[in-house]
């Protein structure tokens, strides 16, 4: 069985195709696909973009309105997948198992985000797939101008909108 693929259609930028590793991150992939399939990611934005680091989205609608999410999922950062450039991982709060819908694409190899120990900040961020097409689109998102908006920092000044996410 091949790995599931998801297309993120980014308004005015293009399509990012993600290949998800269902074998190494089964819970994370199932959770992600659940949001994809019910249209959660439609009209959400990449709300946090830090060049040389990562681009993060999947949680806010245009206008920085936070979307309601389903429950938190277990952190699968122990799966051996590394936060290499163009991998996709789950965002979360400081609590290790607090990921829900937000994800980020690594814009460089961020080894310090990998799991090193099951405690506190060493828990790491769970990688669950990688970009297999559209890395140029990721690069374009990484390069947009950002600023502060509504108490958040690193927000693209012109919205970077996920028009829809489609499971192939």
């Amino acid at each position: 069985m091949s790995n599931p693929k998801v297309e993120l259609h980014i308004k005015d930028h293009g399509i990012i195709t993600l290949e998800l590793d269902a074998a190494k991150a089964p819970k994370t992939v199932a959770n992600f696909l659940s949001y994809v399939n019910k249209g959660h990611y439609s009209n959400t934005v990449f709300h946090r973009v830090i060049p040389g680091f990562m681009v993060q989205g999947g949680g806010f609608e245009v206008g920085m309105k936070q979307k309601p999410t389903d429950g938190e999922i277990e952190n699968e950062a122990t799966n051996g997948l590394k936060n290499d450039k163009y991998t996709v991982a789950m965002a979360r709060t400081n609590a290790p198992h607090s990921a829900s819908s937000q994800f980020f694409i690594n814009a460089s190899s961020n080894g310090f985000l990998n799991h090193t120990a099951p405690s506190g900040s060493a828990w790491g961020y769970a990688v669950f797939g990688k970009v297999v097409d559209g890395t140029d689109v990721v690069d374009k998102i990484e390069g947009v101008k950002t600023g502060n908006k509504g108490g958040h920092s690193d927000v693209p000044q012109t919205d970077v909108i996920i028009e829809k996410a489609v499971a192939l």
């Binding site: 946090r48 990562m54 993060q56 991982a89 709060t93 980020f104 108490g151």
Partner: protein, 265 residues
């Protein structure tokens, strides 16, 4: 404008408590790392079983949602100043009991923050029973009857209507308003207004009504013990300022042996 004290709530210390600390008026703000660090160290290392924070822990508090913004964090997220303060409170609450009373600056601290930090919001005033003695605790602003301007302001901002209206504004707007108010307050201080102290008669009334002999409070930033006659007294907490020279940071400590001021600089 009389400050009547209807039956104050009471809190009795569990027998296991040997040491209880009181702090107030730290006025924590993002621009002052030294005071924050001193407070963080103190909260981690104090041997107290319980810490009573009697108002103005924060220079300003614009709403608990300043902390709950943490839900949007991601990798490498730099926690806001409010988040970092909440972390200190939460970590301390894991090993000791933390009590919080509103001050004139941070009266918008709410139940959300308390729940997040496992701390308890206390009414003002409160009777605290420890070592078979009754102590009256208050931030102290309510008893500064001669501070007419402040008392009018206080009456306005302590209504549910005013607070709901303020908290309904977007976070960024509240941050801007807080900035303006802070600037005005600094300007007022520079113009050399004389400090209003607590009204002695009203304080005695409160102590009689509470059947307590000693009031512990902050707000005036003038640490001292005042004999009010009739065996009554009030003990004033120091404020904290690790940027001032000389530096100021102090806790008042109660044990079975009595009361002492612990210098923390």
């Amino acid at each position: 404008m009389a400050a009547t004290m209807s039956s104050a709530r009471e809190l009795t210390a569990p027998p296991a408590w040997r040491t209880v600390d009181f702090i107030s008026d730290l006025h924590l703000q993002a621009g002052d790392c030294q005071t924050f660090t001193a407070w963080q160290n103190y909260m981690q290392t104090t041997p107290a079983d319980a810490i009573f924070i009697l108002g103005d822990l924060f220079e300003v508090w614009i709403g608990d949602d300043a902390v709950c913004e943490a839900v949007t964090a991601g990798p490498g997220h730099q926690a806001s100043f409010e988040n970092r303060c909440a972390d200190v409170l939460r970590n301390a609450a894991a090993v000791k009991t933390i009590f919080f009373m509103h001050g004139n600056r941070d009266f918008l601290v709410g139940e959300q923050l308390m729940a997040l930090c496992s701390a308890t919001l206390l009414p003002d005033p409160l009777v605290f029973v420890f070592n078979r003695q009754r102590w009256l605790l208050s931030h102290g602003d309510v008893l500064c009857l001669d501070d007419i301007d402040y008392m009018q302001f206080r009456q306005q901002v302590r209504t549910a209507a005013w607070q709901q209206a303020f908290l309904a504004k977007p976070l960024a707007q509240r941050q801007a308003i807080a900035g303006e108010m802070r600037a005005q307050s600094e300007a007022r201080k520079l113009s050399g207004t004389t400090l209003v102290d607590l009204d002695a008669a009203a304080t005695r009334e409160w102590l009689h009504a509470a059947d307590a002999s000693t009031l512990i409070h902050g707000h005036t930033h003038q640490p001292a013990e005042h004999d009010l006659g009739d065996g009554l007294s009030r003990v004033v907490l120091s404020d904290w300022d690790l940027q001032a020279r000389p530096r100021r940071a102090e806790a008042l400590r109660l044990t079975a042996q009595g009361m002492q001021r612990i210098c923390l600089v």
